[in-house]
């Protein structure tokens, strides 16, 4: 039984896992890149070791170094978090051969489900429908993909075989777009996963992206924790998740849960995993892929079930039985997660970098914030732009929305632009409130532009605010100029002037 856990990750998920370890009395080890010396995960761990320079390839993707550190400091388990090495079969295998417990599924399972094409064929064999696409063909060339695209028909999606987190996905409207999009998808897949292989999938219109959380122990027990609604995406990046989905009733939940358990059993799945489905308007569901790791959005499930998923991951990895049976799992209330990204929603969602100078977290009843940043931290271009997750729980979906609305209004981050205004606009959208959305909603039927009503009421206040700021700036400038005119002979004033312009 391991006593010391190394967390092979950074940011909010590293902090999340460190907390779970600490709350179970386990010793913790952090690893960090040169850019992350002051990061929260370094501060919160019992031990912390430098991996290398900022770029992931030289730090967080250096599995060899991480295993070496684990061995040297006596950490006999590694939690990979999500991203980075979480779905790398070779890394899991190296851990195993060095006698280190990998907190996740068996390497073979990672390999099977990590190759999206193999995963699809296994699931088809188990009798579960998949979204039509390229099947059972290895290492497709651009020419083969072009051929296949004609068979599948447009619109379709190009996806990375080793994909995850929305990286390497391209939507194609017609055959003319294929060559350039194949090229850019391969580039992104290569950069993100070190593997440029691609496959194609039919684009299902008006569909919802629903995933089922499963937990499986080493004693053959597999349970599911219900679904998460993850349809709110932009460029295939999830932005907001809910549990439960307002689209799924108890019957469909039970049915999808059973299928998720069946798939997990088919691959001898162990630990926490997620089965992603597309659900069409007629409530037919199709297997998309399985994520063999902890998900970013796991907290919404934790909030409605009371299950601490990371604690269960540790429990399972220690060879113990699941704490819960399927009958213990009850969905109570509703939870929503907003991903707070350092990006400017008024400027095409371009990433924003800089130093966070102030931050005021929303707190109080029914709220949870998972974050890895604090005032003083620099947001660099090296890693993901997600800097925090705000999770609100309510007795009903309506209460959760109202709570999230007040949380977003309270949250202040100074130093970088964030997508908080995007989430605020979303919370006010009637379609969102009504639960009427699919995976195309953000890109096709959502706008950051304010309504005529907003313009009138707050335009005046905005004008006053800007005018008062401009006025006080002008006053300050006038003071400096006047002082300087008066006092150029006096070096004290010169020093002050110089200081102001540094």
């Amino acid at each position: 039984m391991f006593k010391k856990v190394l967390v092979a990750n950074r940011g909010e998920v590293a902090v999340r896992i460190l907390r779970a370890c600490r709350e179970r009395g386990l010793e913790t080890v952090a690893v960090f890149s040169e850019a992350d010396r002051q990061a929260l995960h370094v501060r919160y761990a019992d031990e912390a070791y430098l991996l290398g320079p900022a770029p992931s390839r030289e730090s967080y993707l250096r599995g060899d170094k991480i295993i070496k550190i684990a061995k040297e400091c006596g950490a006999n388990a590694i939690h990979p978090g999500y991203g980075f090495l979480a779905e790398r079969e070779d890394f899991a295998r190296d851990c195993e051969s060095e006698g280190i417990t990998f907190i996740g599924p068996k390497p073979a399972t990672i390999a099977t489900m990590g190759d999206k094409r193999i995963a699809r064929s296994i699931v088809i064999k188990a009798g579960v429908p998949v979204v039509p696409g390229t099947e059972n063909i290895e290492s497709l060339t651009d020419e083969q993909l072009l051929e296949q695209s004609k068979i599948i028909g447009f619109p379709l999606l190009i996806k990375a075989t080793a994909g995850g987190g929305g990286k390497g996905i391209r939507e194609v409207q017609n055959i003319k777009e294929m060559p350039s999009l194949l090229k850019s998808a391969r580039g992104e897949a290569e950069a993100s996963f070190g593997n440029g292989e691609l496959y194609l999938e039919k684009l299902v219109k008006g569909a919802r992206h629903i995933e089922i959380q499963v937990l499986a122990d080493t004693h053959g027990n597999v349970i599911h924790l219900g679904e998460r609604e993850c349809s709110l995406q932009r460029r295939h990046q999830k932005l907001l998740e809910e549990a439960p989905s307002s689209f799924i009733d108890a019957e469909l939940r039970a049915k999808m849960g059973e299928v998720a358990i069946k798939i997990s059993k088919a691959v001898d799945y162990i630990n926490a995993g997620t089965i992603e489905f597309l659900v069409d308007k007629e409530k037919n569901f199709y297997f998309l892929e399985m994520n063999t790791r902890l998900q970013v959005e796991h907290p919404v499930t934790e909030m409605v079930t009371g299950v601490d998923i990371v604690a269960e991951q540790i429990r399972i990895a220690r060879g113990r039985r699941l704490k819960y049976t399927q009958a213990d799992i009850r969905i109570k209330g509703h939870a929503i997660e907003c991903r707070i990204n350092a990006e400017d929603p008024y400027n095409d969602f371009l990433p924003s970098t800089g130093r966070i100078t102030h931050s005021l977290l929303p707190t109080g009843p029914g709220l949870r914030v998972d974050t890895g940043v604090y005032p003083g931290i620099e947001i660099t271009p090296y890693y993901d732009s997600m800097i925090a997750k705000v999770i609100a729980w309510g007795e009903t979906r309506g209460q959760a929305i109202l709570r999230m609305r007040r949380a977003l209004e309270e949250y202040r981050i100074v130093g970088v632009r964030t997508n908080i205004p995007f989430h605020q606009t979303l919370m006010d959208s009637h379609r969102f409130m009504g639960g009427q959305y699919d995976t195309r909603f953000i890109e096709e039927r959502f706008s950051m532009k304010e309504t005529e009503d907003d313009k009138k009421s707050n335009g005046e206040i905005a004008a006053i605010l800007a005018t008062l700021v401009a006025h006080s700036e002008a006053q300050k400038a006038a003071q400096i100029v006047r002082r300087n005119e008066r006092d150029t002979s006096n070096w004290k004033w010169v020093g002050r002037w110089e200081r102001m312009h540094r």
Partner: protein, 189 residues
């Protein structure tokens, strides 16, 4: 308070002085084509289009977050200086506000529309990153919204689009190059 008095107050070395300059007191502020005439009366009063309001204005948690009480209503906004306007983020909405002092605005109006920008647009990098591709060439005619450059940052490929039509006059970067924030990438005429 007259100008002379104000400067008199400030003459003690090291003591911050308050200069109230009359010609700074009236502003015309424009939000989405709506103009507001705003006059700063004193520290706690302004008038907007002739209506007098009691205001209490304070920076909180450091710039750019400001708290404003207007006749008791409590607002809090981020106010960022933009290139030509102020951006105000208020209750989840962003408002572009052009603030001009009244005299300046009158002078400009008198001069007519003779002042024009010289028509050159510089595409600056919105963040540090690496140039992936530059799908345009010097001399090429481009349309508004056309992708000018793809920049990788935070593991994402970001398309930088043209805000207007024109001709690429110069490209200053090449694929594979690492760029700093605000570095000029290319110019459009």
């Amino acid at each position: 308070m007259s100008e002379t008095q104000a400067i008199g107050n400030g003459s003690a070395v090291g003591n911050e002085c308050t200069v109230n300059l009359d010609f700074f007191m009236k502003y015309i502020s424009t939000v989405n084509d709506t103009e507001y005439l705003i006059e700063i009366i004193d520290d706690s009063h302004i008038s907007i289009n002739g209506r007098v309001l009691s205001v209490d204005f304070k920076p909180v948690i450091g710039q750019p977050v400001f708290s404003l009480l207007v006749d008791g209503k409590s607002y809090e906004g981020f106010v960022y200086p933009g290139e030509e306007e102020w951006e105000v983020l208020l209750m989840g909405r962003q408002y572009p506000v052009i603030v001009e002092d009244e005299r300046e605005k009158r002078l400009k109006a008198a001069a007519g529309s003779s002042i024009h920008d010289n028509g050159e647009y510089f595409l600056k990098s919105p963040m540090p990153g690496m140039v992936i591709t530059v799908p345009v060439e010097e001399g090429q005619q481009i349309e508004s919204g056309q992708v000018l450059l793809i920049l990788e940052s935070m593991k994402m490929q970001n398309e930088l689009k043209s805000p207007r039509e024109g001709i690429i006059s110069r490209i200053r970067v090449a694929p594979g190059e690492t760029v700093e924030q605000r570095q000029i990438l290319l110019c459009i005429k």
